[in-house]
Symmetry: C2
Subunit: 233 residues, 2 copies
DNA sequence: TCGAAAATGTTCGTCTCGGTTAATTATATA
DNA sequence: TATATAATTAACCGAGACGAACATTTTCGA
């Protein structure tokens, strides 16, 4: 009774009553579950609601994912993996350190903006004290690769003599992440109180430039001050 | 059967089997509910669990607070009000703008560290798209007062000619809040992946100094560069 | 072509959880 | 002291949610 697949044509599918397509079913479930968990949290999400928005049934969710927490864990992993894909396309090793850092900050900022579901899932994980993230080696590896990019930039910046010697890659990563993350995670409360002026596109560009300046400024040796990134058009 | 009050002596209370003390009961419920909501989120919190950790019963929670969401809302307000009390003791108007800003950043950073439950409740609010915050005028006022402090500093800094003319108080507030907030809110995931090195007290001091430098640096006119805050002892 | 295994459909049990009802005890006040 | 009202208790309820049992269909290799 189900038309599961989205990539294949109907003619391939509807010869009989329904066609099996485990991979598509899995992906479909994961897609919907991501939205639901991001929207309602772990305990707030109803398995029946996920099933309803899926092209398949609740039965299949348990068949493939065991239980709610298993599903949640896999959603988390899939989301991290997707984020990683984007990150890897960044070619920072070729750029001189300051430009590489600028590019990384811009990317991180935009990336969080473009993946609000990811941000929300991480928020939820934090509420749960990173309980599920803790069990996933995949996610750990993913984040390691993120910090390695920063470490490489730091090393090169210090070699070139443009970065301060006491720059700490981990703190730098913290610095970048904090603003990129907060900008998405706390938008509801912030804009509820102060209005959403900061989230019109022009102001977001300004904020991004502010972040770039703040981050780059914090690692540069105080003598060599670069021209600031463009503040507004 | 209940010993409700903590401030009064037993002799005042236990003359008979139990003594009524509505205010103490309310406070007790709020105290426990704050912990529970902060720990498990809105839908994750069980009313029965709150009741169990309270000196009173589940029935009383409904008696005083109506329902779960009503309780949650009052928890939120009470927490904001408590936080506000601390904030107002800051005397920034007396200080020259740069020092005032430094002091404000240090305070904000420490303040978030010292009120993790508050931070967690705000996270939860954001997950719920600030649904409950929206209904509370008290909370709105509290945040307004926070931004006014920043606006005053900005105005004076620009008058004195040490701040750049394009400094935006709202962005500055965003800038400060982002790091102070993230430092607490995302500690679980961050330290799960990268270790908790950044949260030993010495490194927290360094981070705080980094934040001060980044924030102050972003508002100063580029010519007049102040001595950086102490990086480590 | 046949049968086993994988995938899906259908239905139901059980337990949790938010919220309520009815009865009991303390307090205030006249 | 009597009585109305506020505070408190214990038991209970119905909805709904997770997950499992059982049945059926599809696929694929021997």
């Amino acid at each position: 009774m189900q038309k599961i697949d989205e990539t294949q044509t109907d003619s391939q599918l509807n010869r009989s009553r329904w066609k099996q397509n485990p991979d598509a079913v899995r992906r479909d479930i994961l897609r919907v579950a991501t939205q639901e968990f991001a929207a309602h949290g772990l305990s707030g999400t109803r398995m029946a609601n996920i099933a309803a928005k899926t092209k398949t049934s609740k039965r299949m969710i348990y068949y493939y994912f065991g239980d709610k927490e298993g599903l949640y864990g896999q959603v988390l992993e899939a989301l991290y993996a997707a984020v990683r894909q984007g990150e890897d396309q960044l070619d920072l090793a070729m750029l001189p350190p300051v430009e590489a850092l600028q590019k990384l900050v811009v990317f991180t900022f935009d990336h969080h903006c473009q993946h609000p579901d990811f941000v929300r899932l991480v928020m939820i994980e934090n509420i749960h004290h990173a309980k599920y993230l803790r069990t996933s080696e995949i996610i750990r590896q993913l984040n390691k690769s993120a910090i390695e990019k920063v470490q490489d930039i730091c090393r090169r910046g210090q070699q070139d003599g443009v970065f301060r010697d006491d720059v700490d890659a981990l703190k730098l990563h913290w610095h970048i992440s904090s603003m990129a993350f907060f900008n998405v995670s706390n938008r509801p409360t912030f804009s509820e109180v102060f209005g959403d002026r900061l989230w019109i596109s022009e102001e977001q560009e300004n904020l991004r430039a502010l972040v770039v300046d703040a981050v780059v400024g914090s690692v540069l040796k105080s003598n060599a001050k670069l021209p600031t990134a463009k503040k507004s058009k």
